[in-house]
Amino acid sequence: MTFLDWGYILDALPDLFRGLGMTLMVSALAILFSLTLGLIGCTLRRSRFKPAGYAVAAYVEFIRGTPYLVQIFFVFYGLPSLGLTLSIFWSGVLALTLWASAFHIESFRAGLSSVSKDIHNASSSLGLRPWHHGLFVVLPIALRSALPSTLNTVVGTIKNSAYLQAIGLVELTFVAVDRIAQEFRSVEMFLSICVIYLVVILGISALGHRLEKRLNRPYAAR
């Protein structure tokens, strides 16, 4: 008998891919929602209405200063007694979204503040309307400088979806740990999920780097 039982891995593959499907589903929803919430939060943070700005800043600090696992438990076990009962799946989506949007707000804010005031003056002297200025001048510049940290958070969302096994969401890590608990094939299972996670995460990182390169093209000559 060899060290690795390839047949066992092959048998487990359908289960693992179902788990991967769940991982990707939860992550995709959370990425979508958190990017949206990030934009809204960032707008509030920079708005002239100060209390909203402070509230968003406090939210960002709180999420960044607390462990993600405790946030998950609070959402899944704590919110029902406060009147909000969600399924495991939606608890997971909510917890991931809350976590990721805090980081998105912060990177969008940093991206927007990297756009200098001179550009604003330049646009208005060219006669651009405010929304033209925002959409075609500020946004591309801000997006470019916010991209690395935004990508870090997007990839982090997928990685952090593994934490959801702690509340019993049947995603990739849960499938592996569940099988290990029953059949004790830890080497095979961990090798499989490590490879799957690496392929997904490196794939998405590579896509992100291509996007970064594409957005950096106008600056490449310098």
Partner: protein, 241 residues
């Protein structure tokens, strides 16, 4: 609140364990980071590639997977550790990989001219590193490193997954017990309080980090350029877990 006060000794024991774990992973993570940094900046190609591969592997895998992997695989490799040390080991190597990324990028941010000048003045490699390069890299290294330290402290909550008796595990036990004995789940209260405790801890670390950062920024007329370099590194590491 009465509940928390009633079980204060139990919860404080959990907090103490969390603090112990935090200290161990902060030290262990830094040690791993230093070793890995020497690895990825070393001359021998094989050593450099292996260290680099290890660093990237640990940075790309979810921390939850690393913690579970160490917990389940070490016994198979003939090493038996209790949950406390197994979890500390996993978080330390994870922190080491991210710390190495910070150190490597921070040291690279110091111009090559500095090293060459140091060599021209007869400084050996180690002496040049410690006396010339590192002090200049410090203001770039400190901000992301403080972020990483708060992530390491937060990561100790993963101990509850493998059964280390830290704060989160104590909270879980308390919730289970009171739900069974008294009915009605105090989960929001217990987990809410744990969130506040961690928040206080991390805010404290950030505040201390801020002071250290200001100390190293003193020689600079404007910290803007240094700040931008630090920020660029911070965008590539987790500052929360």
């Amino acid at each position: 609140m009465d509940l928390l006060y009633e079980y204060r000794v139990f919860l404080l024991a959990g907090l103490l364990e969390t603090l112990k774990m935090s200290l161990v992973v902060a030290l262990g993570g830094t040690l791993c980071a230093i070793v890995l940094t020497f690895g990825v900046t070393s001359k021998p190609t094989l050593l450099r590639r292996v260290s680099f591969g290890l660093m990237e592997l640990l940075r790309d895998l979810p921390l939850m997977v690393t913690v579970l992997l160490v917990y389940f695989m070490l016994p198979a490799a003939g090493v038996s550790l209790n949950p406390f040390w197994s979890c500390c080991a996993a978080i330390s190597v994870w922190g080491g990989a991210n710390g190495a990324q910070i150190l490597r990028a921070g040291l690279a941010s110091v111009g090559n001219g500095q090293r060459e000048t140091a060599a021209a003045f007869g400084f050996g490699p180690l002496k040049a590193l410690l006396l010339i390069t590192l002090p200049q890299a410090m203001p770039v290294i400190i901000p992301p490193y403080v972020g990483l330290l708060t992530a390491l402290v937060q990561a100790t909550s993963l101990g509850s997954v493998v059964g280390a008796q830290e704060l989160l595990r104590s909270g879980q036990v308390l919730i289970e017990q009171t739900t069974i004995m008294r009915g009605g789940s105090p989960a929001y209260l217990v987990y809410g309080s744990i969130l506040v405790v961690y928040f206080t801890l991390c805010t404290l670390i950030s505040a201390i980090g801020g002071r250290i950062e200001r100390h190293f920024l003193r020689p600079y007329a404007s910290g803007a350029e240094v700040g931008a370099k630090a920020h660029a590194i911070e965008a590539t590491i987790p500052t929360s877990a």
